[in-house]
């Protein structure tokens, strides 16, 4: 049941001066899980509702399985949606909730019962068929909502922040369940979230959307290693930025000439390196610095370093590195971890 989803030049305006979405174009491969990541109000839920058919776009096209669905009503798109709130039908039992989509299609009773049972087992809710939603916890409700969406074997699975209403410990379990169920059923899935950690853990690819524009669409690790620009780097927690002049394969910075594994094009550039990639050692790209700040974070220690010329850097090091404020250290920025941002 794997289907390709294509979104072309999608634009939507609610009538304000700035459109909620402008020119969003991306395609989701069959069986792929794509996270639409962005801060609240960036237009990602609007995009999801347009894919589901609950909203009509101002311009652009949505194609499911190669065919435009703009004229297809939501109930015929076979795009099941799971919302932030579980939104189970309060007057129905768990069983009737999960069977709802099948019942609307006129599935025979015997087959319906069997498929509902299987769907409930898939989300580990086998023993709850006869309960009413009010008798379930928030996490259980959300799992039933997932089963309800999956039971009809939809062509698309659309998830609108399904974890954000859950407690932190439940969220992890639900996250695992979504991934497991999605892999198993090979559902083409679009997952909307504002939580970059969630997106990184779940998604095959991440579409970063801010102010209604697609900023970057790539595999999760690319957002850490090769962010397109400073805004994206900052969104993913990058803290180190160095200005310099690229010339003949090296970059002249206040810390000296730095080598990059992937050379930057000549001219003015901004370099970035993740705090985890900074090393305390000599060699290529090394210089001396003084420890200005040390914050113990349990699994690592975050050091604030000051190099010559007042350049500040953050370094995240294993917790056994016992440096104290005022220590002088030798710092190395490995060439393979330095990345020149686009201008």
């Amino acid at each position: 049941m794997s289907t390709r989803l294509e979104i072309q030049d999608l634009t939507h305006s609610y009538g304000g001066d700035r459109p909620a979405l402008s020119g969003l174009t991306l395609s989701v491969e069959p069986g792929e899980l794509v996270a639409l990541l962005g801060p609240s109000g960036c237009g990602k839920t609007t995009a999801l509702k347009i894919i589901a058919g609950l909203l009509s776009p101002t311009a652009g096209d949505v194609r499911i399985g190669g065919r435009s669905v703009l004229n297809v009503p939501p109930e015929q798109r076979e795009a099941a949606m799971v919302f932030q709130k579980s939104l189970l039908f309060p007057h129905m039992t768990v069983e009737s909730n999960v069977g709802f989509g099948l019942r609307m299609r006129g599935t025979p009773r015997g087959e319906m019962r069997e498929r509902v049972e299987r769907a409930l087992r898939r989300v580990h809710m086998g023993g709850f068929a006869t309960r009413k939603p009010a008798a379930l916890s928030g996490g259980q409700q959300q799992r039933v909502a997932l089963a309800r969406a999956l039971v009809t074997e939809p062509r698309l699975l659309l998830l609108d922040e399904p974890l954000s209403a859950l407690d932190a410990n439940l969220r992890e379990g639900m996250r695992g369940l979504i991934k497991e169920v999605q892999r198993e059923g090979k559902h083409t899935t679009v997952f909307v979230t504002h939580d970059q950690e969630e997106a990184v853990i779940l998604a095959d690819r991440i579409a970063l959307v801010t102010d209604g524009h697609l900023r970057m669409y790539d595999r999760p690790e690319a957002f850490y290693d090769r962010p397109l620009n400073r805004e994206i780097a900052e969104f993913f927690g990058a803290a180190n930025f160095l200005h310099g002049q690229a010339r003949n394969g090296t970059v002249e910075t206040p810390l000296g000439a730095l080598k990059l594994a992937i050379p930057a094009t000549s001219g003015e550039v901004t370099l970035t390196i993740r705090p985890e990639a900074v090393r305390l050692e000599g060699g290529e790209n090394s210089f001396s610095a003084r420890v200005r700040e040390a914050t113990y974070l349990g699994t690592q220690v975050l050091y604030g370093l000051e190099a010559s010329g007042g350049v500040a850097l953050k370094a995240a090091l294993p917790p056994h590195t016992r440096l104290t404020v005022g220590d002088d250290v030798l710092v190395r920025l490995p060439a393979e971890s330095l990345w020149a941002l686009g201008r």
């Binding site: 058919g53 609950l54 939501p74 109930e75 919302f83 039908f89 309060p90």
Partner: protein, 283 residues
């Protein structure tokens, strides 16, 4: 404990009014319905008045008419209100809301007079119909007041109660029902399936509660049937009033027995309503 005392004290003025006016009146009615009327020298207590009332043809006719009027008014109002709410739910318009809320603020008495001015055979409706050539003479306009089918009364109640039930239904529709409908839609439910399987069951408890209130009210209300109703049979509260106004003080117990019976039937509906409310709390 101190908190409870405080709450009781704060509620005391309201409770006092309720108990004196309501419980006091009701117990006086019960006492008189049992035939205890020292003012005319009757001091023995009996159920004669109830026997007399319940055994009379008049009472039965009145009861049936009252059930019919209250039932028809409630049924028609409920259906119209649900349809109106469905039509209004997507309009954020203040005008439609204002038009809908207007009847809620108008007293039943004024509503009855207004309806009478429009639908009587000498009223606005008859004259407009005659002027348009729909009928020859205004007097050919169908008799909608003081008629056997109590059309005038039902019209007044429908006009008054539709907005009330609509407001309740609208509140439910604009809340979670809209979101649930979207879910149902993405799960493949068409318009009719969405209404029947999702929207209606979700708004039903509120609508049922509101219509029970309307039924209980129309069952016990006096002024509209008194103004617009036929002379026989009359609606129960009008019958009780007529008995009460009788010069013969010995018909007082019967009048009070009718009142007590109205109160009992209404109480049954209130109990059903409370039970429904509790069921919802659990669900």
């Amino acid at each position: 404990m101190g908190r409870r005392v405080k709450i009781t004290l704060l509620l005391a003025p309201a409770l006092l009014v309720v108990s004196v006016l309501f419980a006091g009146g009701l117990s006086a009615a019960v006492v008189q319905s049992l035939g205890y009327l020292p003012a005319i020298g009757r001091t023995e207590v009996s159920l004669d008045a109830y026997r007399e009332v319940l055994g009379s043809r008049d009472f039965l006719d009145s009861l049936l008419l009252t059930v019919y009027v209250a039932g028809a008014s409630t049924g028609i109002s409920t259906v119209l209100a649900v349809l109106s709410a469905l039509a209004l739910r997507n309009s954020a318009g203040r005008l439609s809301a204002a038009i809908f809320q207007l009847p809620v603020t108008i007293p039943h008495l004024v509503a009855a007079v207004g309806i009478a001015l429009v639908v009587s055979q000498t009223g606005l409706g008859a004259r407009v119909a005659a002027a348009l050539g729909l009928i020859g003479e205004p007097s050919e306009f169908p008799a909608l007041l003081f008629d056997r089918h109590s059309i005038g009364i039902i019209l007044t109640y429908v006009w008054k109660e539709v907005p009330f039930i609509t407001l309740v239904a609208l509140a439910a529709l604009r809340g979670v029902a809209a979101e649930l409908e979207e879910v149902a839609q993405t799960l493949g439910a068409n318009r009719w399936q969405r209404f029947w399987y999702v929207v209606f069951p979700v708004i039903a408890p509120g609508v049922v509660a509101a219509s029970l209130i309307v039924f209980a009210f129309t069952f016990g209300a006096f002024e509209v049937p008194y103004l617009l109703g036929q002379t026989y049979p009359t609606i129960l509260p009008v019958m009780a009033y007529n008995e009460y106004r009788s010069i013969d003080l010995s018909s007082r117990p019967a009048a009070m027995a009718i009142n007590v019976l109205i109160a009992l039937i209404t109480a049954l509906f209130a109990a059903a309503y409370l039970r429904l409310g509790r069921g919802l709390g659990r669900g």
